[in-house]
């Protein structure tokens, strides 16, 4: 899958690119509105990551430009540091598929991209094999063989997020942000997530050994598949 990253801050674009390349995406970069326009005109992309604050114009114009080209179905995720609610609403109204406020976690970006792929293309399988367990994204369930595990909403969210970002250390803050959202003060006590992970691991290990579910000391968690 190819991704166009439209971002004027070079170092940020490089970090996103590095991350997504490891996930198997093919990356192209545009740092100005003008060059982005050219690229959009020539190629179609599976994903366009669009920064709103470009030095030579507003990102919304690019979004409009893209949506005016007939037959295009590029998925757009708006990235912005303006962080205003109005921008979020406007972005989604103008046809963006999702919205991420800077600073976002790369793992969150990946989770959103997966969600869009599932929603749009319906090609992605809904079931993930996680060793002896099966994660069903459609029904939001985790099963061991035929037996369905009784997970809470939060426990499911954590498991789902770790599986989507498999083989990767997920810092606690990323998990907290994903599960509890970007609620300012609440967000900051990230150790809270440990309680939920502890319960989740207990429920999983009752079924089978889970040495693939790793606790990376003082950092976070990793599920190895």
């Amino acid at each position: 899958m190819n991704v166009l990253i439209i971002e004027d801050e070079n170092s940020l674009a490089m970090e996103i690119a590095e991350f997504l390349q490891k996930e198997g995406f093919i990356i192209e970069l545009a740092r100005r509105k003008k060059s982005a326009e050219e690229k959009i005109f020539v190629n179609s992309y599976d994903f366009i990551l669009l920064d709103l604050g470009l030095p030579d114009g507003d990102g919304f114009d690019l979004l409009k430009y893209l949506k005016d080209i007939p037959g295009r179905d590029d998925s757009v995720i708006v990235l912005t540091a303006r962080g205003s609610l109005d921008d979020r609403i406007k972005g989604l109204e103008e046809g963006a598929d999702d919205y991420l406020a800077k600073p976002f976690a790369l793992t969150e970006l990946l989770a959103r991209m997966h969600a869009i792929i599932r929603r749009k293309h319906k090609v992605e399988k809904n079931e993930f094999k996680v060793h002896d367990f099966t994660l069903n994204i459609q029904n939001r369930t985790v099963c061991y063989g035929d037996e369905r595990l009784n997970l809470t909403k939060k426990e499911y969210e954590i498991f789902n997020y770790l599986v989507l970002n498999k083989n990767r250390v997920i810092p606690r803050v990323n998990l907290t942000e994903h599960v509890w959202g970007d609620i300012l003060e609440v967000n900051s006590d990230s150790n809270f997530v440990d309680v939920h992970v502890k319960n989740l691991r207990k429920k999983l290990s009752q079924m089978a050994p889970i040495d693939w579910f790793e606790t990376v000391r003082s950092v976070g968690y990793r599920i190895n598949i």
């Binding site: 803050v173 003060e185 609440v186």
Partner: protein
């Protein structure tokens, strides 16, 4: 006191004063004229009498003196001649004295004139009743008072009506251009409909002020937007770089820990910046408040999000709300407000404690109470609770902006937040929704 009433009072007062002064002048003037004309008549009468003088007439008058018969029917005037025995010549003189004529007493203006006739000295006394003069005086006074009363009441009514009409644009300007302005950026610069220059001046001054205020707000808005961009972009770079480093296989455990700690610090920085930006935006009126919010439902949503926290600390939640109060405001902001308050109630509660939410309908509108059984605060702490960066615990999960956010969201919605707390017993937060 309203200007309209002050003006009416002033006008009434000056009118009473002017009419009172005029009345006094007129009365004394009228009195003067009447008395003078009376005196003139008496002098004329004496001259006529003296010029027609004869012995017979004198005798006749001297005779009559005893019987007082020479009065006209109305007893308005009389004439008396007396024989006197004086040597000096005495000039004629006027006096005012009481006289009783046929059992009726009245005030008379009297002229005494001494003269010599046929070797004898006489005193001629001509009296004229003052009753007529007094009557005129009384009537004048009566009419003056009547006119005073009518004028004052008529002008009072007309003054009130006129000043009300005159001041109408003033109140309209105050109401439309000051009281009802929530958002100076969308101020109505249309000129006020008035011909009074002073009000036009007021109107243009207010418009000028609003222009300055809205310019400043726009500058601040721009500033906030720039700050967010300039601060959040580098944080974004750092965060993503650290995330990428975490997944480098060659990294040592020690470095891993340091990266993780840096990520935490960065998250904290992000939370502080976002909180400050939120407060600035709220204070800068950058949110709409036209959502219809059901408070009970909103609280239920927040509690659901906090459910796992309640469970983890075995805290019970008691919802005693009687009504689902409707409120027009900003849904997302009110969500944040209740989230912060309820999260505090969980965070600072004792293990297995209780959170009680109740409501009341005081005259001012609607009130919600959030009570916990936590550590509580002393008076000094309550005073500073809503101040930015004020922290009472050494908890790492607090950056001291939660209640500052609550305060700014509350005042944005004209809500009032008050706090009652006792150390080691718990805290109750009261939220007042104004009508």
């Amino acid at each position: 006191m309203k200007l309209q009433h002050k003006l009416a009072f002033y006008n009434t007062f000056t009118k009473i004063a002017i009419i009172a002064i005029l009345g006094t002048l007129i009365i004394s003037f009228v009195e003067n004229i009447s008395v003078n004309s009376l005196k003139q008549r008496m002098v004329d009468k004496r001259d006529k009498f003296v010029s027609n003088l004869s012995v017979t007439e004198i005798n006749e008058l001297l005779q009559q003196e005893k019987s007082f018969t020479d009065y006209n029917i109305l007893k308005e005037e009389y004439i008396v001649l007396t024989l006197v025995n004086v040597t000096d010549s005495i000039p004629p003189q006027f006096v005012e004295e009481q006289r009783s004529i046929e059992k009726e007493t009245g005030t008379y203006l009297i002229l005494w004139d001494y003269f010599q006739y046929g070797g004898k000295k006489y005193r001629l006394e001509i009296g004229e009743s003052m009753e007529a003069v007094k009557r005129i005086e009384k009537n004048t006074l009566y009419f003056t008072l009547l006119i005073l009363l009518i004028t004052v009441s008529l002008t009072l009514v007309s003054d009130l009506a006129f000043t009300r009409f005159l001041l109408r644009p003033f109140y309209k300007i105050v109401d439309e251009k000051l009281n009802r302005v929530n958002d100076p950026i969308h101020f109505n610069y249309e000129k006020a409909d008035t011909t009074t220059d002073d009000f036009l001046l007021l109107d243009s001054s207010i418009s000028g002020l609003m222009k300055k205020v809205s310019d400043q707000l726009l500058t601040e808005k721009q500033f906030i937007s720039n700050v967010s961009h300039e601060l959040l972009t580098p944080i974004s770079v750092l965060r993503n770089r650290l995330e990428n480093m975490l997944n480098d296989d060659n990294i040592s455990v020690e470095s891993l820990n340091k990266i993780s700690a840096s990520l935490k610090t960065l998250t904290r920085l992000k939370a502080v910046i976002n909180s400050l930006l939120l407060i600035s935006k709220v204070e800068n009126q950058q949110f709409n408040k036209s959502d219809n919010i059901q408070i009970k439902t909103l609280i239920a949503e927040v509690m659901e999000e906090l459910e796992d926290r309640l469970d983890a600390r075995h805290i019970t939640f008691e919802n005693n709300l009687t009504t689902d109060y409707y409120f027009t405001g900003n849904q997302a902001l009110l969500h944040t407000l209740f989230m912060n308050l309820l999260n505090n109630a969980v965070k600072y509660n004792k293990e297995s404690g209780k959170i009680i939410i109740s409501d009341a309908y005081p005259k001012t509108g609607y009130q919600i109470f959030i009570s916990d059984e936590g550590v509580g605060m002393n008076e000094q702490q309550i005073e500073k609770a809503f101040t930015r960066f004020e922290k009472f615990s050494d908890r790492k999960d607090s950056h001291g902006l939660g209640l500052a956010i609550v305060k700014s969201i509350a005042s944005f919605h004209y809500m009032e937040i008050s706090m009652h707390s006792e150390p080691e017993k718990g805290t109750t937060i009261a939220i007042d929704f104004r009508k």
